[in-house]
Symmetry: C2
Subunit: 332 residues, 2 copies
């Protein structure tokens, strides 16, 4: 890889997380699906926020978290996503850049505010997200910089954005650039309800454009219309060169086309505090390893290590340097 | 105390903290005094923030932290302080109200932004604060609600604001209201350099208006112009009915006029993560106990317990309910 290259560029929602503790009664009273992600409008964002406990604000967004983790692993990352020209947007941009990530997407002026995700964390560390997307949905093809995408070994798409027509155009543009430059693409499915709503479009997009597919079990079941692993593996191999299925504390499975399934063990965290960002961190380890040409077992070990760090504290971005942890563990 | 009364109302800076890790080289490069609080202008706030590591935003402000801790102890608290009409101001207001605190000061429109404190936390848990005061300095006598102050057993002033001429008028107005209602007043000195700059004015204000004085050792040495404890105690008794001197891990000393010094042990925290807010939490325990008529040893024990909780994590406001911890410890 040339010195000016990137390991991974992420395309996703530019979101600031607002994180607080909540009990199940609070989730029920506000019709918040425990463990899920619900899109809300500005009015709902105000009423849920008003009722929430005191919180902390910390930059988030699924693909942005992944790229921040990738940088912490020592990878070179870039990000494409839309903030507004406001304080939250400044925080988001600062935190990505301070993590060493290239982030040059122009902020939105005169439109909705920077996106925020109201994250209520239960005593069992599950996070329930109510997300107001605001400026993030205004991402479009014009925000995809051809030279930047061509410099990245892997372009990584956040599934949450797939439902937005303008963002989907941006995805397709980036895929064409990546293909023309001989680069790879990856996508995370983000949410099983979303996969259900956009099933045909996802299958077509992945089949046509995607080299690396990331999904948790629920998302994989929905996409491949089965809960039998043999069926899922067969259909995954038919659809995509490499599929990763994450299974929380049971670890993950890597399914390469034309190769055996590689089982990856989970790494037990020191403390289980907040599962926000576990999947994002997993993606960082996997994509970093793939961009560097590591074998699948080593990619998976990096992925599990990154996920374990992130669930040990509040917030989806690493507190400890992941490259140091990976060296201690003998993976880097 | 009547049902509509308050234990303590705080008058202080309405500030959102931006907290990140930093090493000593970073502090040196940006001329940040380790362990201290430096006031900065908007330009310095931008340049320091640009260079800082990724951070979290969490509501702060010395007296506001104290009132949030007081609410966590089960006390009824109010706060008077100035935010701007912006996102950070919304966070600040939300977090205090969500903690159960009365906070009705009108936001500033069309002036500077809500105050922020850039807090760089060293590996040894020391915090170095670079504070842009923005809207917080616009607090004035008109923001002091006579009925609200008259309802509070203790009105508590943040020393940081004492230097602002309009805020000092607000302090004097609140003292007159408290005196007329037969209530008590308290002040924290906040910073020894500030005490040095405003020495005569502090001595006059405390002698004329203040019942309870809080200071750390450096501030007490500066105010009483001595580092001999006997001299400090003698001068403290002459100036003020009750003086509390905090001494970090050595605990604290309560000096009542006409009574013996009461030595209070520090409570060792489970982990030492971030000393931001230790003094604020101490003040909460002390003032809550005094408002409820507890003896000095019990007030001090509550103060030490609150401080220990807050230094065990990032941020100056309690993560665990302090009343539960105090009950476990047999103090409540």
């Amino acid at each position: 890889m040339p010195a000016t290259g990137l390991d991974v560029i992420g395309v996703g929602n530019a979101i600031v997380d607002v994180i607080a503790h909540a009990d199940d009664a609070f989730l029920a009273a506000h019709a918040i699906a425990k463990g899920g992600m619900t899109l809300i409008d500005g009015a709902a964002a105000r009423s849920i926020y008003e009722a929430m406990a005191p919180g902390v604000e910390i930059s988030g967004g699924s693909a942005a978290n992944t790229i921040a983790c990738l940088a912490s692993l020592g990878g070179r990352g870039g990000f494409i996503g839309k903030v507004a020209d406001d304080t939250l947007g400044e925080f988001f941009r600062h935190d990505l850049r301070a993590a060493g990530v290239e982030f040059d997407t122009a902020p939105l002026a005169g439109g909705p505010a920077t996106a925020r995700s109201l994250i209520n964390v239960s005593a069992d560390a599950q996070r329930s997200m109510s997300t107001f997307l605001g400026a993030a949905t205004e991402l479009g093809a014009a925000d995809v910089d051809e030279r930047q995408v061509a410099r990245a070994a892997i372009t990584y798409f956040e599934g949450y954005l797939f439902e937005m027509p303008r963002a989907r155009e941006a995805f397709v543009k980036a895929c064409r650039i990546a293909a023309a430059a001989g680069r790879k693409t990856a996508i995370t499915l983000s949410d099983s309800a979303l996969v259900d709503r956009q099933h045909t479009a996802f299958v077509e997009f992945i089949g046509a454009h995607v080299d690396i597919l990331l999904a948790n079990e629920a998302e994989a079941n929905t996409l491949f219309e089965s809960d039998r692993f043999e069926t899922i593996a067969e259909r995954a191999r038919a659809l995509c060169p490499l599929t990763a299925v994450t299974r929380s504390e049971k670890g993950s499975l890597l399914i390469p086309r034309g190769g055996d399934v590689v089982e990856i063990a989970a790494v037990k965290p020191e403390r289980l505090v907040d599962t926000t960002g576990a999947g994002d961190a997993y993606a960082a380890g996997l994509l970093f390893g793939l961009a560097r040409g590591f074998d699948l077992a080593r990619c998976g070990a990096l992925a599990s290590l990154a996920a374990a760090e992130v669930i040990g504290h509040f917030g989806a971005r690493p507190e400890k340097k992941l490259d140091g942890l990976a060296r201690e563990a003998g993976i880097l």
